[in-house]
């Protein structure tokens, strides 16, 4: 039985895993992890060119933007204006309107500043961007972002880079149930079971960076994540059995010798 593709702002994806491109040993390892993960979209950051060393390796030489969808982010932006400025540059550099908005607050926890996030989302949508938005796991804010016209709601599972796994499954499920645009858990996944858990809750996809990049063997973990996302999705579609308080034998009791 074929699953339907993940559709974000009219673009179809077979893979429900999105991976980051930060923290890898080098871009070659990053490209190998991407291949192993089967992901079709990667997040990327915009930064100043090192004018003293124009020969430094370029991400685009390792991960071809014609084959893999680049999702420019606003990591490091703490105001709506910073975020909009960054993404306008990204659109000029790559020609893409599909972007990841994240407006951060305190560097200690990197929780999104939801007031600024809402403001920036509106500015970007008015400017023609398709906005996938990193947000808190608050269903009320998630609803507001969807009402503004965001293309995907991306609540955190746990603080960025923490690898703690889903901290608030109740909220993630509430967001999944109320949303009519894709819901993608962004941040907090530490290992394969976390990704599976997010998918079992009915999320449409999972976005992760550190869980793969900081694994002892990033390429093997990328492959694990590919399978984890597929397993979670299949389990969600299959519909799990009811939980029971006591044992229920799997072999028939009738005809015992």
């Amino acid at each position: 039985m074929q699953d339907k593709p993940l559709v974000i702002a009219g673009r179809e994806f077979t893979s429900r895993l999105i991976i980051g491109t930060g923290k890898y040993k080098d871009y070659a390892q990053n490209a190998a992890a991407l291949k192993a993960s089967g992901a079709e979209m990667v997040t990327v950051a915009m930064r100043r060119v090192n004018v003293m060393n124009p020969d430094e390796p370029m991400l685009v030489d390792f991960i071809n933007p014609k084959e893999t969808v680049y999702l420019p982010n606003t990591a490091g932006c703490f105001t709506g204006e910073d975020a909009v400025r960054t993404l306008r540059l990204a659109r000029e550099a790559g020609g893409w309107s599909l972007v990841k908005l994240e407006v951060l607050s305190d560097p200690k926890h990197l929780y999104p500043d939801m007031e600024e996030t809402l403001r920036a989302a509106k500015m970007l949508i008015d400017d023609g961007f398709d906005v996938m938005v990193y947000c808190s796991d608050d269903p009320v804010f998630a609803r507001k972002l969807e009402d503004l016209g965001c293309a995907a709601i991306m609540p955190l599972g746990a603080p960025i880079g923490s690898g703690l796994g889903l901290q608030n499954k109740v909220n993630i499920r509430l967001i999944v149930e109320q949303s009519s645009v894709p819901v993608i858990v962004d941040a907090g996944v530490g290992t394969a079971s976390d990704a599976t858990e997010a998918m079992e809750l009915g999320c449409d996809g999972v976005l992760m960076n550190t869980a793969i990049a900081e694994a002892q063997d990033p390429i093997r973990m990328a492959r694990a994540m590919k399978h984890a996302v597929i397993a979670g999705r299949e389990a969600y579609l299959a519909g799990r059995m009811a939980k029971k308080r006591y044992a229920d034998p799997s072999s028939p009791l009738a005809g015992l010798i």
Binding site: V51, N73, T210
Partner: protein
């Protein structure tokens, strides 16, 4: 009226000569010759222009105009590219 201009006296009458000009490039002081276009700046820095975006005084410079936009004294130029990120 010419005195209103801040050109050094020795330069008066030599306006066809390219003059050194200060700009801010990615947050650092940088010197270019007057008349430098964005394309020329990227060329001098050996930066492949297909892989970057340029901002001049907080306004995006469309790639299609790199040949025409001429830098002015005091311009604040940002040249950015994609790097790995989460």
């Amino acid at each position: 009226m010419r005195l209103l201009h801040s050109q050094p006296l020795s330069r008066i009458g030599e306006t066809d000569m390219p003059l050194p000009m200060k700009i801010t490039l990615n947050g650092e002081d940088h010197e270019v010759e007057s008349g430098t276009t964005i394309t020329a700046l990227l060329g001098a820095l050996k930066i492949p222009l297909v892989k970057v975006a340029v901002e001049r005084n907080l306004c995006i410079v469309p790639r299609s105009t790199f040949d025409e936009v001429i830098l002015q004294e005091g311009d604040r130029i940002e040249i950015v590219r994609f790097i790995g990120g989460g």
